[in-house]
């Protein structure tokens, strides 16, 4: 029989999800609306989760330094908003600026991570935390001119929350949206998400992708094959950062706001638990893992809200979500540690 222990979180979540789906129907909550929400949330958060894959596969662990990538995305979007570029063009411009910013930030981030080999995850957490505050300083003095982004009084420094209604709020969500009865299929959003997923999938069918996998699995082997380890790791880290930057653009256009200052701090944890929930065991994480994990994680979130609010006290859904996301990370760490044996005497 196959060993099911590593799959306990997924099995548990699937069972949990089924129970909730049944409860939702029983409690008379409109299930089509929930399905819509879960689809949108899948694509909205999915890119951030996919962005973890290159770093996982190169052996740098989960990118807890995701705030670095998110800051790059925020910068990219701020530039687009500053020039008042609207609509789909505005969004694409934001993505383009984010890619450039992500590339620059990624290079620096890779430089640091290559010096702390083996401890990338903990280093990532601290890099993320310190970087967010460095960026806070930048936001406070950034020379942006669009009044919609600045504090209304004084006109200096960025607002913590910038509304995107006038620029590219929900442009992807509404692109090619098809209504079938009550169900709205956000085809444009799903297509964009699918395209990025395909890009990452295709990456691992290339020369670079194979080198990334080899470095992640066995550095010594890769070295014998003449691969430049640090360069390959840097490529993967830059890719993760760029994807993360694009990810926050997708997230923000759906959410409708750019959130600056301390907002990126906690973004890494839900993404990390989603990919772990999807069954990632470190190396050789596939796009499928990311999509499955995000779907389970976000759908549960979508379902817990209304159900908990109907049956239990309000605000319970947020509590459950936090317990879930941190509990899954903890479980993954426990499972990872079990494989090792220690000298016992």
């Amino acid at each position: 029989m196959r060993n099911l222990t590593p799959h306990i979180p997924q099995l548990f979540m699937i069972v949990f999800l089924l129970i909730m789906a049944i409860t939702a129907v029983a409690a008379g909550i409109p299930s089509m609306r929930l399905l819509n929400d879960s689809m949108i949330r899948l694509a909205m958060n999915g890119v951030l989760v996919i962005s973890l894959i290159p770093m996982l596969n190169v052996g740098a662990g989960i990118n807890y330094g995701l705030p670095v990538a998110i800051s790059a995305g925020l910068l990219g979007m701020s530039i687009a908003v500053n020039f008042r570029i609207e609509g789909l063009i505005g969004f694409l411009a934001a993505v383009l600026f984010s890619i450039l910013a992500g590339w620059v930030f990624g290079c620096a981030y890779a430089g640091i991570l290559n010096r702390v080999k083996g401890r990338e995850e903990i280093a990532g957490i601290f890099i993320g935390f310190s970087f967010v505050f460095l960026m806070s300083f930048f936001w406070a003095v950034a020379p942006f001119k669009n009044a919609a982004m600045l504090w209304p009084i004084g006109g200096k420094g960025m607002r913590p929350t910038i509304g995107l209604t006038a620029y590219f709020e929900k442009v992807l969500n509404h692109l090619w949206a098809v209504q079938i009865g009550e169900l709205i299929l956000p085809l444009g959003l799903l297509a964009f998400f699918g395209f990025l997923g395909w890009l990452v999938y295709a990456l691992f069918k290339t020369k670079l992708g194979l080198a990334i996998l080899a470095v992640g699995e066995n550095e010594l082997f890769a070295r014998l094959a003449g691969i430049n380890i640090n360069k390959t790791r840097a490529y993967a880290i830059i890719l993760s950062t760029v994807l993360g930057a694009v990810g926050i653009c997708v997230y923000a256009q759906s959410y409708g706001f750019i959130e600056l200052y301390e907002a990126p701090l906690m973004m890494a944890f839900p993404a990390a638990s989603a990919i772990l929930l999807g069954g990632s065991m470190g190396r050789k994480t596939s796009v499928f893992h990311a999509i499955l994990g995000t779907f389970l994680f976000q759908t549960i979130y979508v379902y817990t809200g209304p159900i908990a609010n109907t049956i239990l006290v309000p605000e319970v859904s947020e509590i459950i979500r936090v317990i879930l996301s941190n509990g899954i990370i903890l479980y993954a760490l426990l499972y990872e540690g079990r494989g090792k044996t220690y000298e016992t005497n």
């Binding site: 069918k205 020369k207 066995n218 094959a225 003449g226």
Partner: protein, 525 residues
Amino acid sequence: MLKICGISKSFGNQEVLKSVNLEIPPGEIHGLVGENGAGKTTLLNILFGRDIIRHSGGYSGEIYFDEQKVQINTSRDAIELGIGMVHQEFALIPNMSISENIRIGREYVHQPSEKILGTALALIDKKQTREEARKILQKLGVNTDVNLKVLDLSVSLKQFIELAREISRENLKLLILDEPTAVLSREDAQAFIKIVKEIAEKGTAVIFISHRLEEVIAVCHRITVLRDGNIINTYQRDQFEINRIAESMIGHSLNRASRPRRVLEEKSIMAFRNFAVAMPGELIEDLNINLYQGEILGIAGLSGHGKLALGKGIMGIYPTAGHVSIGERILDTSNSADALSQGIYYVPDDRRETGLLMDHSIMENIIFTALQQKNRFLKPSLFSLMSRIDYPASTTYSINSIQTFDIRCQNIHQKVSTLSGGNQQKVCLARALAMEAQILIVSEPSRGVDIGAKARILEALSRINRELGTTIIMASSELDELKYLCDRIVVLYEGKNFGILSPNDDDLTFALAFSGKRKEELCVI
């Protein structure tokens, strides 16, 4: 004192000890000799309760200590019984002083504090600990400041401190010495042996392991020869004869098939000049050889004498000195990409650690290096990094390789971790072939491989050499396969080129060369 009855031990399918019996009375120095892989270290690990034994499924058989049957599960058990071990690799704590290392776990404490706080929290009596350490070292003829940190000491001094730690134990009954003199100079080794003899005279039994046969003969009361996990013979003092012991170590193999010798033009394609590799435990020093076009050059020698370091040095895994040149060009040994671009390919001895991507398929393992270095198996593209893998071409090539090398598998998409050792080795060779290497360096090609697969691997190497004209350097601890394949065999002794022997030389010459002796010298002794 110690009696071992029918000890057997397997690692996976490989039986490394086959029902071994051994008896050592108090006060005896018992020599244990054998080739690499004969099972010496495994036997010691069992006696000292090392974790590797328990983690790999324990052992079978019985151990009697002082007439009592004992079960040694952990090193703590062994120490409580009174077994001490001087390790081949130093088991010292670098950042502690000499005296602390010698008395570790058995420090002298201030009595009143022990009564109040208990043993674990008692205050250490540093003065007495130091004093005792100094006395013990003086007994060993070492005069040094016991406050020095171990990390600042010379290798030979460290060896003496290990010995001091063991003999300072009040209950020491059996002392195991694993290659204690390997790192010592001749004078130090003699001093060391003198001390060991004194310890034995006080009634401590000693197990002495060394590759220096003459040393074993000089110090031991009896010598047991291990070969392939069996005890071949136990010699009494009056039967000691270096030739006989060397011969029974090597054994006579059944497969003596010899190949027709060929005469090769001595055209050098690769030259080593003062080449040195700093591989820990396998140093190569000052190597000067020429590699001739089209030959198979064997590298022989006991483990620890440098034969595994050659390939690793060329591929930049360990730091090197001196230089290697291909024709006129000097190789950059810090970067494996340079060696690969010059048509050199290295098949490492530790397949699982460095030779294979265990989690990937046979196909990916075969095409990997050629794909990365030569852009084979790729679809044309603007940026070579982003070019996609050409799956049809890779599949065809892999299927051909499976047939050429007779790799036993379900299909090319099977993970290599599920293959047997022999088939894994064939995958490594198939990868080398995809690289179209000019010079192939193979290390221990038949280690951990069963006999049938071994023959096919050797056959494949021979074919690569004769049909494709690839020059091969082959390092191996199996003398038979070196003699079968090679045109010349370099024997390394203590990291230096001891001599280039012909495969037609007899086993005795080789056995003596392995322990740094020449036949002519023997007559003098």
